[in-house]
Assembly symmetry: C2
Homo-oligomer: 355 residues x 2
């Protein structure tokens, strides 16, 4: 029995206008239930992937959106028949529950281009889910033949930077007048980026910012081996700094030349990096699934308070509470099993095919 | 039997120089093992809390650190005998594993003040842990008699904003030249703040930014009731905008007047808000504990790949993997129980006292 997701994948890869509707539906499913990314990964080896996934991050006001807009225009100019995807990750509006129109307004000139696919993602308070959702959308864009996918995040918080790093290449956008080099260091941008763009190059202090950045890159400490936060992938590319003026389309072609020169599809190092990203995706999907089960089990505030009473009066520890919860979750899983699972995988993960 | 943490708490509240050493040790324990915050919460009803916890957030370069520095000076001037805590949350350096000295350099004038306690927290890649660690440090600062604690975050990512919102009052710092009002909206700052400071008021476009901010606040949609991301606490204060120049100490006294007028310690609404924050803390400590157990169980990359093989070849789903993991974790907890647990809490949380 095929799942609804696999059917949508079949439709999305079949071509024609129906395929785009199926892709849009797939994106909605994956952003609403990010843990289902696992199902998308399941068949992913046989599906097309984007040639390049570019993550773009930088502080609000650095001109990221404008840069992405012009990078997209340059790619469209070079590959008139290619498809391009843009994922705008906007963790902003946890309260209103929807992405803002700002980016879409700016991207108006691409909005009517049938070769460009734009998807905005807002968070609704769950950043883990947002990162997974973004990965799912990138995967679906690959399915429908997008060669290049640009993932742009708003904000320079650690989560946003991590989303931008779930890519082949991470681009950090900076602009003069946004704070000195200590500020860049503080925001963790030096370590996060493979490529740096100093935007708004027509401003007087742009060159000074470029110099500060180059010094900071030279001073950069190598990541300690064995540190769990350390991305084990041996960096294939040296960090690069470009001076651009996105709004005047200045030096945009040079940035694209550079990206095109990386040969991500053919080199072994890049392929290993992508494989590691997939394992990370599964880990995150798993964590998201378990977190959601915990939240369901904990339920509403008044129930939680009763459950936490032991802890707050000092008679139980967090470890005790965790033991209790895990026991309940395991029982729940055992009870649920025969009813909803079409097949029963053996311990070890390799199981008989679905009935 | 008292735990090491309870002993440290006793020492920290005893007074004298030994108490400060114990407090510093407590802060280290809680930032290294954030899930132990639960143990600190256990006795928290009998311990002193800060009169005001102020969260401060804003984009890098907005002059947050300078503002915090001047707010601290103003508080020290008004309450020469009071103690003040500053927690600088710096999720920046996941690779180098330590906070930068930038803030400490700026805070030099407070560094030699025996009434001011400064603690920097860096993330090492785990933001959940960072948020919990910051709360633990605030609690310890309360223990040693800090009346006011300022929690400053670097960056305006959603995680950083959430850390700043784990406070009585959340202050958002903005500066002219950092992007227009759409950028503020995109960064989710309008909904996040109780108090807004437009800093660098001597710059020509500061007043325009203040106007944009006031319009944005007027347009702000109320949070939909029932939305899980909605903080259910009925806001006690109307959102306020101040025009300051931190570096010239201009209007700093007005901001402190305003904060002092809120009477957080005595009003019921604030107390309910604080109680909700405690429940959130326990939830987060629990999630952190379980996440860590999962990570330990999953172990290293090559083991993970084997475990994930079923998923990647399409024979198992994320839900199957989650069932499997939860079962193993529950078994592990049952096996561990008699050896390491000094007491056995009954289901429901209310248990006999520890032996």
């Amino acid at each position: 029995m095929k799942s609804d997701l696999v059917k949508l994948v079949d439709d999305a890869t079949a071509g024609g206008p129906r395929s785009l509707r199926a892709a849009a539906r797939l994106m909605s499913v994956i952003t609403d239930q990010p843990q289902r990314l696992g199902e998308l990964l399941a068949g992913s080896r046989h599906w097309t992937e984007p040639r390049l996934v570019l993550g773009v991050t930088g502080a609000p006001g650095s001109g990221k959106s404008t840069l992405v807009d012009h990078l997209a225009a340059e790619y469209r100019h070079r590959y008139p028949d290619g498809r391009l995807g843009i994922v705008a990750v906007d963790p902003s509006s946890p309260y209103t529950g929807g992405a803002l129109l700002g980016d879409r307004v700016r991207m108006m000139r691409h909005a009517t281009d049938p070769h460009v696919f734009i998807r905005s993602l807002a968070s609704r308070g769950q950043l883990g889910g947002l990162a997974l959702g973004a990965k799912g959308v990138v995967r679906v864009m690959g399915l429908i033949g997008c060669d290049v996918v640009i993932v742009e995040t708003v904000g320079v918080g650690q989560c946003e930077v991590e989303i931008a790093q779930n890519a082949d290449v991470t681009m950090v956008v900076l602009a003069p007048g946004q704070g000195d080099s200590i500020q860049m260091l503080k925001a963790g941008l030096i370590e996060a980026g493979d490529v740096f763009v100093v935007n708004k190059a027509d401003r007087p202090d742009a060159v000074r910012l470029q110099q500060q950045l180059l010094s900071a890159l030279r001073l950069r400490q190598p990541a300690p081996v064995g540190d769990p936060s350390h991305n084990a992938w041996p960096t294939q590319i040296e960090q690069q700094v470009f001076l651009c003026s996105a709004i005047n389309h200045k030096n945009i072609a040079e940035v694209v030349d550079y990206l095109e020169g990386l040969e991500i599809g053919s080199e072994l190092g890049w392929q290993c990096h992508r494989r590691e990203l997939v394992v990370t995706e599964v880990r995150q999907a798993l964590a998201h699934e378990i977190t959601q089960r915990i939240e369901r089990l904990l339920g509403h505030s008044h129930q939680v308070e009763r459950r936490f009473a032991g802890l707050l009066n000092g008679s139980a520890s967090v470890a005790d509470l965790a033991d209790e919860l895990l026991d309940e979750l395991a029982q729940e899983a055992r009870l649920r099993k025969p009813a909803t699972e079409p097949y029963k995988p053996e311990r070890g993960g390799v199981a008989a095919a679905a009935v």
